[in-house]
Amino acid sequence: MGNIDELIGRLAQDTVAVKPAPHPYMLSLKWMGGAVAYLFLALVLSGLRPDLMLKLHEPWFVIEIAALVCIFVATSLSAAVLAFPDLYQKRGVVFAPVLTFVLFLPVIFCAWSADSPPAPLPVHSFECTISITLVALLPAIWTFYVIQKYASTHYHWAGSIALLFAFSVGALWLRLHEINDSILHVVEWHYLPMIVFGLAGLWLGKTLLKW
């Protein structure tokens, strides 16, 4: 008991005024704002796909982009809540990405069914994964840096969701930049690697976000 009292005394002596962290929704908004600006800049520099206006008349392409945007929003909200030790007492928000991914699966399935006759596979393959990874790098570093300043008690999940958020930015960028109609290619080289990186985030979260 003596040690505890001594420790409390020392901690109380050390304490100074501290600015409370912003609400997770504000944090998420900040991330999304930054990511949208970054995406815009990346698209300005790399260029939009020339057939984008035409593609925006295809319902499954629009739904796929909308589903990706949902993943982007849900992962950002979830990562922000996961940065707090008590999940800001909003446990439900953490599971938002699960819901969006569950919705994403039928969207991809329908887009694949509608791709008839199937569009030819592009000649390139893993280059897409590399491009997405490079674009996702900056948002990933940013989100990890911010979360690390908080106090996540679910660091595995925080790492995983933060990477999914960053890769959703990359995936959105490539879908709006690359001229490619093959849904099989998109699944194989855009979305599956994104999931794999999300799983790698479990380990990265443990390594970088433990406090």
């Binding site: 505890i4 420790l7 409390i8 501290v18 409370p20 800001y88 008690t153």
Partner: protein, 178 residues
């Protein structure tokens, strides 16, 4: 203090740098966390260690509390996190030092019936052993209890007593062979 509002108010004052409010908040927090830890840990010194870690973590993470939500769930989230950390480290340490029981059972009788060295002659060395091991050897070799009786007396299981005794014999043998 039993009104939960008081915790939130104290925490808000603490965030503004009020040292007295912070000290009384931490005191109250350690008061309600102690039974929570006692229920989950076996030794008093372990409870104190984990409690200290939790208080330091509360201090480090205090900026993640803004006074706009209940205080206790925030504290318990940190407490559970640190407790799990402690238990994980504790059990992985135990696994690292685990000994096959068959290995112990083969060598144990040899040591128990050893008569070349009397307990009295190595009493000092025994007392230098870690607390539990020293007590086990003392009970078995000075007071003549069997491993089963020692286990009952110390609230441990028989295998754990044998393992602890085996480790103690190993340490003693290394020391005496030097």
């Amino acid at each position: 203090m039993d009104k939960t509002d008081d915790f939130e108010a104290l925490m808000i004052l603490s965030l503004h740098g009020d040292q007295r409010a912070y000290a009384s908040l931490l005191k109250e927090t350690s008061r309600f966390l102690r039974p929570f830890l006692t229920k989950r840990l076996s030794f008093t010194n372990e409870v104190d260690d984990v409690l200290q870690e939790i208080l330091i973590s509360i201090h480090k993470a205090r900026h993640t509390y803004d006074g706009k939500r209940p205080y206790k769930p925030w504290v318990y989230a940190i407490a559970r996190f640190r407790l799990q950390d402690h238990l994980r480290a504790h059990y992985s340490d135990q696994l690292r030092h685990a000994i096959e029981l068959s290995e112990v059972e083969e060598s144990l009788p040899e040591y128990v019936t050893e008569t070349a060295i009397s307990y009295e002659s190595i009493r000092e060395e025994v007392q230098k052993l870690p607390g539990k091991q020293a007590t086990i050897l003392q009970l078995m070799h000075q007071e003549g209890y069997t491993a089963k009786e020692v286990a009952k007396k110390m609230g441990m299981n028989e295998s754990a007593v044998k393992v602890a005794a085996h480790r103690a014999y190993k340490i003693l043998r290394n020391k005496l062979e030097r």
